[in-house]
Symmetry: C3
Subunit: 384 residues, 3 copies
């Protein structure tokens, strides 16, 4: 009996895969006087941006788990969840700490983004919660809807308070066109998301940096006294071979204590092109570009089976993004900015990438107009 | 020679198993006015209680090691030890940071406890030290005795001081009855423990929460100036099929600087019953319920070999515990409490458990009498 | 196409090896009155010195990576790098956070040092940078040269500042004699290193402890206002069977703001002998003793194939080191010290070592002369 039980337990034992990723960033800044007045001197910086340790696997046949944490500075938790699959009606059910289902940009893993940082000041990040979601690799649609803690104390992920700090967030995506034959080298993606967020602590804040985690904050509403806010988003993407066009619009309306309803918004338009012929890799499970880009040839020499030496270029990708933040409302003046980003990404292998990026940002706030901040940044990225 | 040596080294290479566990807790509280006066408002809370990363394995034939740490907040170290086995006379010898050999409740891994938290305010936790202990899966007794650092500075585990902050701790257990045929579905366990603790820093403190890590402290002696204290414990458990009865009594006597010898105590009585027929799984190596409970059927659908779909309930367990703390002595008035705990545990699989728990605690202290605190808490637990 | 790509990606998937190491240290101190005046009372201490988690592996055929971090206290990052190999001319190229190429003592992994701590106050440690280096297991020379961030902010590894805080560091080693037949049981190693370091923050500091991480600092220049400094080193080692002799000289010249050029130096001479016949294991890739010592017999009993029980002693090694720090210059008076270290190392297995060590240090500084500090320390070391 005991041996049978032990054997049965062993057969069902959770699998464990250990992985990780690290990103090294270097950024230089150049500013005009208006920008200096707005944000002070942006000092050049070199930094280990992320150093993630990733544990995950399967338990039984249809449940997956993740324990991911960052050790670049203090330990901070990333995905820590259980995901139950193959459920009737809802397909999947996830419990833990993970990304709320909002924004294709957010749901694209950072290691697969065309750019070093995401664009929107309204991303929700990871929160504690529960989520129903689809998970079908052959569907032309996805959905996700969940209940989350809308704000968190300091680490560990927790919320304490007798008031209700909860959020309801949902997203649907649809593919009017998906070219099966080429495995997604042609597709049109449409999506919409919405989040209703009650603020237990009675305030919220929106801010953004110029497409660089090492740059200073350029627009910032400061703390806004409010009990809840609405966030809505629309997104679209178009892939045609090596070319990708992608755009999103985010709109926020905050029910403030002092001024009534105040609204802010953001949009971006982004294009990328693989000079070496590869394509962004769309994942129909998640409705985002969350599959790995595999270069046709690695940069490193590899010896083929018939003993030739193959000396590849790696994959090379051009990227451009225009984005615009408007954090001014009728009574709150967080500033506005627009940004041009130009990038060149070199995939040495499926696991190693070097990114070169230039950003021009132009900010208007209550201090000055046309604050110009130029960012020159480089990243070495590796994941395993 | 060098290749031989390399081969020999490889053959002896330590094995490495990577695992972990995470617990998500939600607790709501309700209090009467006396409790509000005693402990203030207990705010509802949601928290990642633990997130452990567990490395461990074997080296050579008879030595095991563990490096376990928690990353839920800051990194904190759990088990970090080497355990040498198959030694003459003493059987095993352990060096490092690990649980002192005291209290069945303490030595039961948190993932296998019937309740979300342990009951006693006098548990010793993990400390740096050395321990001789038995490790025999077929014996009807166990022993453990060790020398430990009786107190620690802040992290990393260390002690600094010219005074001696050491403790001697021991525990013996005995099984007057153990049903081999059913692999322990019937047993009687008896145990006793003792610790003598010299306090290098010249003080100690005892406190407790009402069976919930998210609840406030309800009884608390405050710092007691003292040079050493004695801790004694008695424990018993009875398993009959799916039914388990378990109890322990802890008694502390502190040689205080100001009042002479002052004593405190604690006891609990705990019962549990598996509605679905499983049983608590006793481990004769450690003298505690530290083996995994494997549900007869998992909650998830599993497809059997002959292609039927088997739709199991998982395992369901009822638990009840009465406990009592007395932190009042002749001259120190830390308060007294008694608690009723009722719990329902649902094992979805051997690795996943959801716990529902209600606790009623009644506290008398110098501020008020009959402070009533009700705890409603839920846990999602997963380990891999 | 997609399956081919997936298969190709899988074939190239990075390998992941998980390992670690932990060191437990206990140190007792004894001081004369002069030492008490100099450094105060050195309190006895017990400490988890290190607890490293080590992830690493290969990607493609010629690239290796490491993500190592310490969790003994807060998380702190150790090696986090990518190393590209088999490159024309330079052989290897490394990017990330790793040891600068200076000093055989520094480049010997702590788990393979004869002593518990390194000797020199001028070691550079790990820094962010890039390095070209050789990596040839059969060469009689090595080189390494790199560009590094010469100072770092607090964690995470980063540097922020518009001034240039960079360092150029290089090292070459040469083996005039290496006995191939015995795999290095006879060799002569010579090496030289140099580092030019620009100080972005405008100051630097040198200090040292008496061969014990748990002891107080005994010599200390304090902060020196300076823009750059030079560091040079010479090293030599001689292995003859079980006997090893090793020495290094480090010399620093600081271009101070207030006094012009000020210089400090350090040297040590170290001998070790394996009573049980093993030898220090030189690694020709790195030009240091960074290969594992494998005892001829493990301490633990092992059962041989023909069923005899073999009861080995483990390996036993004697070590002695004389070292001298001179942190006095014309205008800066950090103190001078000399130290005698006597050690006995017991290798229970290739992975487990117990170290016993006595250090006598004699310090002269501006407070007192002939401050005598005696250190009695023990370490339990394990790696996996």
């Amino acid at each position: 009996r005991s041996e049978e039980k032990a054997a049965a337990a062993a057969a069902l034992k959770p699998s464990v895969k250990v992985g990780g990723r690290f990103f090294y960033d270097v950024a230089d800044f150049s500013q005009n006087q208006a920008s200096l007045n707005q944000v002070g001197d942006a000092e050049d910086e070199m930094r280990l941006r992320w150093c993630w340790i990733e544990l995950g696997g399967n338990v039984l046949e249809n449940t997956t788990y993740r324990v991911w944490f960052d050790v670049a500075a203090q330990v901070s938790l990333l995905d820590v969840y259980l995901d139950f699959g193959e459920l009737p009606f809802i397909q999947n059910f996830r419990v833990g700490h993970f990304f709320e289902p909002f924004s294709m940009e957010q749901l694209t893993p950072n290691k697969y983004l065309e750019t070093m940082e995401r664009s929107s000041p309204f991303l929700l990040g990871r929160n504690m919660g529960i989520m129903a979601h689809s998970d079908n690799a052959e569907a032309n649609w996805t959905y996700g809807v969940g209940l989350f803690v809308s704000e968190q104390g300091s680490k560990p992920p927790f919320y304490e308070g007798d008031t209700d700090a909860s959020a309801i967030t949902g997203r649907v995506t649809y593919l009017p066109w998906y070219d099966e034959a080429s495995d997604g080298r042609g597709l049109i993606h449409l999506g919409a998301g919405y989040s209703w967020r009650h603020l237990g602590d009675g305030n919220t804040q929106f801010q953004n940096r110029p497409d660089s985690a090492l740059a200073p904050v350029i627009v910032n509403t400061g703390l806004i006294d409010a009990d809840y806010y609405h966030l809505a988003g629309l997104e679209a993407a178009y892939v045609y071979g090596s070319f990708t066009l992608q755009s999103a619009y985010h709109w926020v309306s905050v029910d403030t204590d002092n001024f009534g309803s105040e609204s802010f918004d953001h949009y971006y338009v982004q294009a990328s092109y693989f000079l070496t012929g590869e394509n962004r890799s769309y994942n129909r499970r998640s409705g985002s570009f969350s599959n790995r880009v595999v270069p046709y040839e690695n940069f490193f020499r590899v010896r083929t089976e018939d003993n030739y030496i193959c000396n590849g270029l790696g994959a090379w990708e051009l990227a451009y993004r225009f984005s615009h933040d408007d954090l001014n409302s009728d009574n709150i003046f967080g500033g506005t900015d627009y940004r041009h980003l130009a990038g060149l990404n070199w995939y040495l292998s499926p696991f190693t990438r070097v990114m070169f990026q230039y950003v021009y940002s132009n900010t208007d706030d209550q201090v000055a107009s046309n604050g110009e901040l130029h960012v020159f940044q480089t990243r070495l990225q590796f994941d395993f």
